[in-house]
Structures are given as C-alpha cells and as structure tokens.
C-alpha cells in the first residue's frame, strides 16, 4: 500500500513520517513516535483510553488515522509533566488517589486539561460530565472528580 507523508507536531516536537493511510493515530503515537503513555482499550471508540488532544481538543486516537492529523498539534500525557515536575492535575490525582492501575489516567488527565482550559472553575457536575467520556474500571470515579476539583482550585491560586 502506498504511504502518505505526515508532518505533525507532538508535544511541541515536529515529526515527519511516512505512514500507511490506515495507520491509526494511537499506533502512530505509541509505535512510530514511541510515546506509550497513550493507551489502547477497545479500538472502537467507547472506552476513551486512547484520548489525546488534537489542536487542544480531546479526540479518540483509535478513531483517527495518522494521515488526518497532518499539520495538527497533538498533545499526549507525556507533555504534562515528569515525576519530579508534575502538572497540578497530576499532583492532584496523586494527592487524592485518583488512580489505581493507571491505565485510564492519561485519558482522564487530558480530558481534565480540556475542561479546565475552557472552564477553569468547574462545578462537580461539570467535572462529572467531562469525565463521563472515559471508562475507569478501578476507582469508581469519585476520587477523580475530587482530584480535578482540587487541581482547579490549585491552578486558580490555591483557594481550596
């Protein structure tokens, strides 16, 4: 099969690759770029594990071909922080025990990033609405809401 050129920015770094048109974005990120923080859960767009940001908006990378993001900016969990320099959301998830196995965590974090970008002070209901696009099998979700709420407070100047 003929390959297409994809030029895409991932976490601020420009990549140029030749890919089969059918190559899914999740596989492109995980295997071709080597960023394995984005996970794969169902490959039919229901569970949300593969969530990334395309031009700042959440999207399912299992329902996107890599060729479709030519010219776009992709954000994955790796851009948020490192163990010694965490994003406030990551710190909040840690504080509030918002993860157990960690498989849905990248998706939850990026979903929260999108939420807080447009709604820096969301209500719990608004957080729940945003989170509802991702499944979590471990936590029962409650601590994730606590974590996002806590992070929002921290990011808005520490009022808890």
């Amino acid at each position: 099969m003929e390959q297409e050129k994809v030029v895409v920015s991932v976490n601020g770094v420009q990549y140029e690759r030749m890919v089969e048109p059918r190559r899914l974005l999740c596989d492109f990120l995980r295997q071709d770029i080597g960023l394995t923080g984005t996970h794969v859960g169902c490959e039919h767009g229901v569970c949300g594990m593969c969530t990334i940001l395309i031009n700042g908006r959440t999207a399912r990378s299992c329902l996107t071909f890599a060729v479709q993001v030519d010219g776009a900016e992709i954000t994955t969990v790796e851009s948020l922080g490192t163990p010694t320099n965490m994003h406030p959301l990551q710190a909040a998830f840690w504080e509030k025990h918002g993860l157990q196995c960690g498989y849905c965590t990248p998706a939850m974090l990026l979903t929260a990033v999108e939420l807080l970008d447009t709604n820096p002070n969301p209500s719990r209901d608004e957080i729940r609405e945003a989170i509802s696009s991702n499944l979590c099998r471990c936590t029962g979700y409650q601590n994730i809401v606590d974590a996002v709420e806590h992070a929002a407070a921290q990011m808005n100047g520490g009022a808890s």
């Binding site: 190559r23 996970h39 922080g81 163990p83 025990h97 157990q100 498989y103 849905c104 471990c138 979700y141």
Partner: protein, 808 residues
C-alpha cells in the same frame, strides 16, 4: 513466630494515607504495561476466532494467508498441538483445553489459527485469508439443557457422555432436622448471570525463544507466575526451568489476570516456530469472547429455615453453575461460597447442592469475589424475603442473628472459621451515616406523592486470604491436593542503609509497592523515601500466590515481618558488637539502634549496614557479611478438610465484613433507578492505608453496580455473544454510579495476621449487588416487585412493574 501488634497503637506508617509509590510513573504516562514492551526483531500475532459456538473443524486452508507479504507464519491448532500440549487445569479429571482449537471449537471466539506477521495490521489481513470448513455441532447454551446433553452436544466426550462436569451435595450439620423444626421456610429462585472483570487493559505476552539455550523468556501481565507459572513450561513442552516469566504491571485485573496461561503459551508457541520474538496482545473482542475469565453464572433455588421470631436455623441452596467450555480452576468458586455460606449469622446448618455444567460459552475464571459475592447476594435476598414474610425490619432480622464479638473465633457449619468481627458496630455506623430513620420517614412521604424510594441495608462477609485447599476439596478425587498458598518477599539493606524489597507477585492496580513500603517502613523504621520496591521474574522468584481473594496485603505483611525479623536480629547482633552492649538492651526506633535508656549510645541503620557489608573482621565471629533475608510466609491459619467433607477445615479465616446501604428512587415509567445516597461501611481489620482501601470499596461498588444493573455476557440460543464489545457490554460510566459513595471504616483486628490486617481488595463488589436489589425491591414494595434476576436493567424492571400492576 510473627509478632501480632495491636491495632491503632501508635503506628507511624500503618494507618497512614500515604501517597502511592506506584503513582509518579503512572501519572506521567511512563508505566510499562505489556503492550509497551518492545524487543528487537519482534513480530506480531493475531488469532482467527471461531464464528461458531460448537463445531468440528473439518479443514483449514492457510495457503493464501501464508503468501501475503509480511506474513511470517500461519499456524493451525493441530500444528500448535504438535509442539504444545494442553493448558493448565486445576480440575480433576482435567478438562483438556488446547491453546488453539485442534479438532473442534467449543465457544464463539475460540482461536482456530494464529498468524505471525511484521505488524498486527498485516496479521489481521492474513486472518481474512484463512479458509476454515466447519461442521456445526449442536449448541448448548441453557445450563438446564446441559444437564441432559448427550452425543454430539457433549463438549468433552472423553470425559463421558455428559456436560455435567461435577455434581455433589455437601451437607454441613443437621439440615433436615433444622428444617423440620422451622416455623417458616422462605424460598427464592434466583439467577446470577455472568459478567466479568473486563479491565481496560487486555491480556498480552511478548515471547522469545532462545535456540541457543532452549529457553523461553516471556513477558506477561499474568499473576501466579511464581506460584504455578511453570505449568506453562509444561504446556510448551520444555523443562520448567527453561521458562522465565517476566511480569509487567497490569492495567487492572479484578481476577481476570489471575493465571492467564493461554496468551503466553500461544505467544511462546509462535515465537519458537517463527524463530523471532512474538507479541500477542488480545484486542477487546478477543478478550471479551475468549478471556477465559467470565464470572459465576448460576441458577439458584434457595431455602432459609427460621423461627417465627426471626432466628435463622438452616440454609439450603441448590445451584447449577454454568462454567462454559472449560474448567481451568475446577469448582474452586464453590470453596469461596463455603467460606462464608452462612454469612455473618449464627445459622446452624448449611447444605450446598452443586451441579457444574459445561456449555458453549467462554469459560469461567476469576472475578472479584470468585463466587462468594454471589453467595452474599442469594443469602441477603432470602433474608430480605424472610424479613418481609415475618414483618420484620431488614436490619432487625439481621441484628437478631449476628455472631457476637465474644463468639470469635467462630466456626461456621462448613468448617471454616471467622477470626474476629463486630457486626453490630458496622451496622450501627452505617445506619447512622445514612440516617436510616430519616430516610424511612422520607420514604413514607414520598409514597404519598406517588414516588418510589427504597432503602437496601445488607450486611455481608468479605473473606480474605484463601487457602489452596478450596481448589480441590469439592472434587470427588482431589487430583493435586495442594496445601500451600504462600507469599514471599526479598528484603535487603544495602551498604548505605537503603532497603530493597523484591516482590514475587504483580501490580494490578492494587498497591503492592505502597503496602510493602509502609510495612517495611514500620518494621525497620526506615523512611519510605529510602525504600525501593521491584518485582522478580520467575528465574529469581520465590513462591508467591499473588493478589486474589483479597490476600495480598495480609500475606506481604507476614512475609515482610518474617524477613524484617531476621534482618533486625542480625542488625542487633552487629549493633551490639559495635556498641559493646548486650543485644537484649537494644531497641530500634527512627532508623537507629540504641541502648535502652542511653540514647546517645546508638548506631544508625546505615552505620550497621556499612559495617555488615564491608567490615567482616569487625563483626562478631558467627556473623557473615551482608544484610538480607528472603521469607516465604505461609497462610497463617489453614487446616485440612475431613475425608468425608462434612468439615472443610479452615481455609478462609481472615474475615472482613461490610454493611452497604443504598437509597434509590425508581422511575416506574421507565424502570430507571437513581441513587439518592450510598453508604458503605467496611471492616477490614487493621487498615494499612485507608485511602487505598476506600478506593477498593468505591471501585468495587462500581463493579457491583455493573453486575447488578448493567453488565451481562449475553449469549443467544446459537451461542453468539451479543455483548461482545464495549458498546454492548455496559461497563458503568461515572453517570451510572452514585455521586458520593460514603465510606466508613470499623476495625476489628485479626488475631492471626501481622498487625491484625484483613484483606479488603474485593471491596464493594461483595456487597453492592444485594444492596441494590434490596433497595429496588424496597422501593417497589407497594407493587410487590421482587428482584431475583440480574442484571436488573430498566427494561427488566419495567416488565416486573407492568406484570405487578396488571396482576393487581
């Protein structure tokens, strides 16, 4: 030999809500799950799944598939069987399961061939080119039909002309007499259909076969690799020491990764044949159809005998359990039933009549509760029925029959022992938290307004720390009468005084690194920041049964205590020598060993460690260099079952308990159920980390809600799995669970475990299903609706409501 500390008595680390050690790498997307493992020259596998539920494989033509560019190897089940034997099976006689179907398929989705290719994409393209000729056989889906199967409808004719895998009745105590003496016998028929763990990560393996050494190296996200992992070597036809299994962290399990042998064996078989490393990762459809880990699937007929005043006398249950196409764990799930069959109550006798059948469905494996959560459901339902019949409040009938604190350790009719408990305290706390009286008032008012609010208090057990006897004591012939289920730990202090902990069991989303860190910190007074936890492969592994049956924290605590004791002994010897003091006069606190009463005469752990590693000639004569210990900790209290099985022995004595009280409102026009409140009070003995325990309670409750209200592996009459993807198999989103599961703790320490810890990992799933059923039934009491069949979907509830309204 273990030191049994009292709960809540000035621990520094036990009882702390310490942030998890596992989290930093998981939060930053740097966890290494199985699909993140890449080895040089790695190829990718995919399997062809059977579209038929039951069929003979007449022929398989793989020629076109082999010719596809990028395909390295195509293998049929028959070809696989030439080099790989059947998969492990704990049942006796075993039910033979090939890793890839050989001459017949027994459930939809079973593998019939495998492809190895340069990419998973090409491998799946090749699957499309494989031509299989099937000869359909009669399909058996209804477990009651399976009772009378014969001929071609029999899945395993080599075991006889029947689909009944096991039939046995065990009677514990004077059941007939107790029933004869009863004033009231309440009977309910119930149906608990199969759901399953379905973690967000499927099962996978990366296998390499080294022709130079004849050895397999397999990365896998299975547990039990250091317990029975060598059985995979047997399947692969290599000596057991020619298999090294390297664990990866798992993205959830809930039992479904307890011992997932098939995927690593397929990967190993393919790698050996292909001469290249092979990654085989189940996709979601593979996993849903063929995960080998569906949960219990039971039809029940239950009777509870009582006196008019609500005293429970005896419990009889008859059940058909539909195990699907294979029987890897035997009927071990019924050991779990027997562990707490009579619940937290002083029921005098119990009878369990079990028929295990095989049908054309995916096989059962393990799902959080392993069959005991089902027993909680049927017992609580029949008690609610009794309360209804006797006109008693559901909390009153339970209270009346609770085992009292002074009766522990308490032996139940099946022979198992409950170590400790205070069921009254848990109930009281829950009733207070939910404001039971307040809600009963609101319920009354709501009824006047034509609204249907219900409250569902249930009290049930969460057994923890299984003994391996439960895997075989139901068998007529035990086969392999295993009695060890230990957990091991390696503990070393390096020359600089840092502690290294080696675990022999995996991470699943439970918190083994955090538990180990807190417990080592407590035992050795070393700061958590100076403790490093890693996982051993099987080459370096010691016996580790792994997470399951809520056992891990209890067992690792015992193992660490054992290892720490040895290290402390050696440190004291060395310190005594360094301080020229008697060992008996020394104490360990805050990282220092000092002379009691003379704190300035002390040496730090790093001081001692440095001495231990490098200064042999300065040590006592009888002390060698080094500072490390391995410890294999056995189940703290287990005994053999009696020959006649009238007493199953002690096999699950570390007994946690919970009270769940949901408040729901039912929209009778649509059958939808809304949570107005949810309280869950748990007793897991001494709690190491309340925050992580609450996580299991909430997460488990969400799964319980799933099983009770949303999830079912639904097979149609042709054996097609209609809920084979995430769009149809309904795992709850945040909107389907209560906004706030209010968690409360009560601690009755165990007299048998280190620190008095009890297991709590199975959490809320043990109690949520009966609680929800109770609340819905309570809401619809004016209509007389009974909830006996799960999942209680809005549609099913609407049907019951309509019937009730029509029937009058």
């Amino acid at each position: 030999m273990s030191t049994k500390e009292k709960a809540g008595n000035g621990y520094k680390w036990i009882g702390q809500n310490m942030k998890r050690v596992e989290d930093p790498r998981l939060l930053t997307g740097r966890g290494k799950y199985i699909d993140d493992i890449v080895v040089p020259n790695m190829a990718h596998a995919a399997v062809l799944r059977s579209p038929h539920a039951h069929a003979r494989i007449k022929s398989i033509d793989t020629s076109k598939a082999k010719e596809l560019p990028g395909v390295i190897l195509v293998m049929t089940g028959a070809e696989a069987a030439e080099q790989t034997g059947p998969l492990p099976c704990f049942a006796n006689p075993p039910v033979a399961q090939p890793c890839i179907a050989t001459d017949r398929v027994r459930h939809v989705g079973e593998a019939v061939a495998a492809v190895v290719a340069e990419s998973r994409y090409i491998a799946e393209d090749a699957l499309d080119l494989i031509e299989v000729e099937y000869e359909p056989l009669p399909v058996v889906i209804d477990p009651e039909e399976a009772l009378t199967s014969s001929g071609d409808a029999v899945l395993h004719p080599d075991r006889g002309d029947t689909n009944i895998a096991l039939q046995r009745t065990l009677t514990f105590g004077p059941v007939d007499d107790d029933f004869a003496a009863a004033d009231v016998v309440v009977r309910r028929k119930m149906r608990w259909p199969r759901s399953g763990g379905q973690p967000m990560e499927t099962v996978g393996a990366v296998a390499t076969f080294d022709e130079g050494t004849g050895k397999f190296t397999i990365y896998a996200n299975s547990s039990m690799y250091n317990y029975v992992g060598w059985l995979m070597a047997v399947s692969l036809n290599v000596p057991p020491h020619k298999l090294n299994i390297i664990p990866t962290i798992a993205g959830g399990s809930f039992g479904s990764k307890l011992f997932v042998h098939k995927v690593p064996v397929i990967a190993g078989t393919l790698a050996r044949a292909a001469g290249r490393p092979v990654k085989y990762l189940e996709d979601r459809i593979d996993n849903m159809m063929s995960c080998d880990n569906h949960g219990s699937d039971r039809i029940y007929d239950v009777e509870l005998a009582l006196k008019n005043d609500g005293t429970m006398l005896s419990l009889r249950m008859k059940s058909i359990d539909d195990y699907g196409a294979y029987l890897q764990f035997g009927v071990g799930h019924w050991g779990n039933v027997a562990a707490q069959a009579s619940g937290p109550y002083t029921i005098n006798s119990v009878e369990i009549n079990l028929t295990a059948v095989l049908t054309n469905k995916g096989q059962q494996g393990a799902y959080r509760g392993f069959g005991s959560e089902v027993n909680n459901f049927i017992l609580e339902r029949v008690i609610d029925a009794a309360a209804d019949e006797l006109g008693m409040d559901p909390t009153e009938i339970r209270r009346k029959n609770f085992i009292q604190p002074d009766q522990f350790p308490y032996k139940i009719p099946t022979g198992n022992v409950y170590d400790s408990g205070n069921y009254e305290a848990v109930l009281e706390k829950a009733l207070g938290m939910v404001d039971y009286k307040g809600w009963r008032k609101k319920q009354e008012e709501a009824r006047k307004e034509g609204r249907y609010i219900g409250i569902g208090p249930i009290t049930c057990q969460e057994r923890s720390v299984f003994s391996s006897t439960e895997f075989w004591f139901w068998n007529h012939e035990p086969g392999f009468a295993l009695t060890s289920s230990p957990e091991s730990v390696g503990l070393k202090i390096d020359p600089l005084g840092k502690a290294f902990v080696t675990l022999h069991s995996p991470f699943w989303g439970n918190s083994p690194e955090t538990m180990a860190t807190q417990i080592v910190a407590e035992q050795l007074t070393i700061d958590p920041a100076d403790i490093e936890v890693t996982y051993s492969d099987t080459d370096h592994g010691l016996n580790g049964t792994g997470p399951g049956g809520s056992r891990y924290t209890v067992m690792i605590a015992g193992a660490i205590a054992g290892a720490a004791t040895q290290i402390k002994e050696k440190m004291f010897k060395i310190a005594g020598h360094m301080l020229e003091a008697n060992e008996a006069d020394l104490e360990l606190a805050e990282g220092k060993i000092s002379v009691r009463g003379a704190p300035d005469r002390s040496v730090s752990i790093p001081d001692v460690a440095m001495q231990a590693h490098y200064f042999r000639l300065s040590l006592p004569d009888d002390v060698n260099s080094g500072l490390d210990a391995n410890f294999v900790y056995d189940h703290p209290y287990t005994t053999m079952p009696s020959e006649d099985r009238s007493d199953l022995g002690v096999f699950y004595p570390i007994m946690g308990h919970m009270c769940h009280i949901p408040v729901v409102e039912v929209d009778i026009e649509t059958g939808q159920v809304k949570f107005l409140k949810y309280v869950a009070v748990h007793d897991a003995g001494t709690v190491v980390n309340p925050m992580t325990l609450a996580g299991h309670i909430r997460g488990g409750t969400a799964q319980g809600i799933g099983s009770a209200m949303y999830e079912q592996f639904y097979y149609d009459s042709e054996g097609q799995l209609l809920t084979a993807n995430f769009a149809d198999y309904l795992i709850p989103t945040i909107m389907e669970v209560p906004e706030n599961v209010e968690v409360g703790h009560v601690e009755t320490p165990s007299p048998f475990t280190e620190f008095g810890i009890k297991g709590g990992g199975e959490g809320g799933r043990m109690g949520a299903p009966p609680a929800i059923a109770a609340a819905i039934e309570d809401a619809l009491k004016p209509l007389g609706v009974k909830v006996d069949v799960l999942p209680i979907t809005p549609m099913r509830l609407r049907e019951l409501i309509r019937e009730a309204q029509a029937g009058g």
